[in-house]
Amino acid sequence: MKDVDRRSFLKIAGTSLGIGVLYSAMPAAAASGEVGAMFDAWGKKNGERVTPFSFIQLSDAHVGFNGPPDPLGTKAFERAVEMVNRLPQRPDLVLFTGDLTHDSEDKDVHSRRMKQFLEISGRLNVPLVKCVPGEHDAGLDGGALYRDFLKETYYSFDHRGVHFVALDNVSRAKPEVGPEQLAWLKKDLARFPKSAPIVVFTHRPLFDLKPEWEWFTSDGDDVMNVLAPFENVTVLYGHIHRDDEHELGHVHHYAARSLIFAFPDPEKAAEKKPIAFDKDQPFKNLGIRVVHENVAGKPAVDTASIEDIELTAQEFSGINGIQQILRNPSL
């Protein structure tokens, strides 16, 4: 087989809806001979042939949060669910990258918030919803309440030939994954060939994005070292309440916007303070991000392009603006 750049095989195209991110896992399987043969080979090794599908990332709903930065509570979350349900092409999967709920010291209150989260996310008309905890879900009780409702805080599963890994970097109270989970991760990945497409989803960034704002994972380097041999790794996370894209080595790290309020750009803002709610422009901080990674058919280069499109008034009228973007993802 000809030596093709394997990184080009998994095309993760992320289209940020401002309220979440739609990803399309589109391995260029439809493409010709050599690539198709590679996918067959993967299929034999991984147990399942990679076939194109799309999925959504939602993050940081903070169900139960009530405060000036977002007096609308769960409205953005509910709107996101409606939008996902109205997408012309139903996604296979929704990944929720933590802070499903806002913490409460009263267990009953926190429990009610978790139930409300499950009620709203239960309206998602998708076959599969997978979550990881954020520190507001699991930081105070080591993940006990989270596990009562959602079982494990870290796990993995395979979907259409892509290996998804859920990592928990919150329930030890500190921003860390911890030695047990690292050992588990090594074991979990052992059966995969280096070319296997892997999507890691977690709450906090696995690198030092802004340590003074607690935007880091102290043993994130250890996680990335375990993942280093793998050639097709994408990391999705939340926590920072803004969209972000970093390329570290050959791994792309994407953050989704939150469903509650936004944080400012850490490069520009003096302090970590939510961007104030503006009732005249309630979606002012929402926007659309289109990410094209290794667009099939072009020379395989290790690049990604991002387009940030601020939502216009059209966005207020509902899904139309979004569908426009989705119809033409190569804008």
């Binding site: 806002h102 913490d103 409460s104 010291e105 520190e135 930081g139 105070l140 919150v170 109270a173 500190k174 921003p175 690198f207 030092d208 340590p211 003074e212 704002w213 607690e214 880091f216 102290s218 380097d221 990335m224 894209e245 970093h246 390329e247 570290l248 080595g249 970590k272 990604a304 392009s305 991002i306």
Partner: protein, 126 residues
């Protein structure tokens, strides 16, 4: 788009400041400043530190004595290589000799409740 790599990050974290930090855990006792490095007492309480700013001199060795009035808190500053826990009923001591001037935002990185995300203080080195 911002591009970087892990190597750059780890270098960035270690280059600007070189410090000697000695950590010990001892039972609470009165601060004694007369026969050793200057001692600075810092108290953690949800969701802040008291005092919330301290000023150190470049090259001066100081001892920080950290206690908490309520739950476990963290004490974290990447560039100063400080990463400690402050547990109830214990005193966490940090001896440091800052070599670089600057203002270092030090955070609680042990989740402690609703306003945990804003629990921080400044270490100013002149």
């Amino acid at each position: 788009m911002i591009r970087s790599n892990l190597l750059k990050y780890s270098l960035a974290a270690t280059l600007p400041v070189t410090l000697m930090i000695v950590l010990t855990f001892v039972a609470p006792r009165a601060a004694r400043a007369d026969d050793g490095p200057r001692v600075i007492e810092i108290t953690a309480k949800r969701f802040g530190f008291s005092p919330n700013q301290i000023t150190l001199k470049k090259g001066e060795t100081v001892k920080l004595r950290l206690t908490t009035e309520d739950v476990t808190h963290g004490f974290f500053m990447r560039a100063l290589k400080i990463d400690e826990e402050i547990d109830p009923g214990k005193t966490t001591e940090i001896t440091l000799t800052p070599q670089t001037a600057g203002t270092f935002l030090t955070i609680c990185d042990h989740f402690c409740g609703a306003n945990h995300g804003n629990m921080n203080m400044k270490i100013v080195v002149e």
